[in-house]
Amino acid sequence: MIPVLRLAPIAILALGAVACGPSYDQTDFNFRTSPPVPVSITNDRFTVTEGIAVGFIALPMSGSKEMEGEFRLETSDSTILGVSRGTADRSFVVWGVAPGTTTVRVRLDGEVEAQIPATVTAQ
């Protein structure tokens, strides 16, 4: 009985570690293309001009570490902003469909981790 009691703190610590796995902090964006007019893709806001597309790699981060899992970006309104996966791992393409505002959902393993406001400006 005594050895079991001695191991209890270790077991509690181990359970805590499992429950407190890496938590999503932000997404890092790295452009793969140079759009003909500037666009802004950040954790705070997407700003894209109507008709303009940009390709980028998006990495979900916990602190300074890339997170594992199924990572997706989704548009809340595809009549304003288009969002699609690209061919490379964690690559995406975003394009302005029509002027307006919407949000981009950031999903990791099905869970919505963030909703980033998005604006499409007119040409």
């Binding site: 293309t33 140079s34 061919t87």
Partner: protein, 238 residues
Amino acid sequence: MNRYMGRVGATAVLAVWGTLGCTSANTTSGELNQGGFSYATVGDGRSDVASRTLTNDYGGNNPVPVLAVGGQFNVRFVPKSGGGSEWGSDQIIPAAPGLLAREGANLVAKRPGQSAILANDGSVVRDFVHVQVKLVDRVQLSRVDAGVETVLGDSETITLLAGQSSVDLAALPMSSVGEILAGSMPYAWSIEGDPDIVTLTSKGGYQNGLSAGTKAGKVTVVVRVAGQSSSFHVEVSQ
């Protein structure tokens, strides 16, 4: 802005399929470098001057074709992987329907601006390319003699001999900065005056032929395209 345009021009050039009927294909890389895009004429009896503006020799510095508002065109995409199969037109998606709209298998330039064309199979965007659209600002008329073009000045007069002379003509839609604009568009050629003096012998679209009739006199030839027109005079003498 120019820095961005330069990059796009180097990496995202559309290629022309040359002549009406799409007999030759030259592709160049999309901006994601996942395949090649080709620009194709519509081939529906309308005209497209793209084959005049771009050659079939595509290096890295060729400009993206500039399209005319109202111009109709077709874009093909062949991915690098996938056995070289061309994608269907339903997988070629204009980014912004307000700028470029789909009409059947073709795209139509709706208003000035820049717009991406996406190769999208429904789940993945494989690649894309940007094109520029501009308004037709004026129509440049030229006479063509044995393949040599001479630009006709505004309201210039061409002199022909009755019953003998003929001349080929070309009407090019131009932007405000002097670019020849691509895209298939209807061209309306007409003669104002006595039809016995001069007749038009249609060669299709932006090209036309002019034949002197048997009667002497003076007429005006007018061509209209995309809301713009240009004219010149023809004087036929005996």
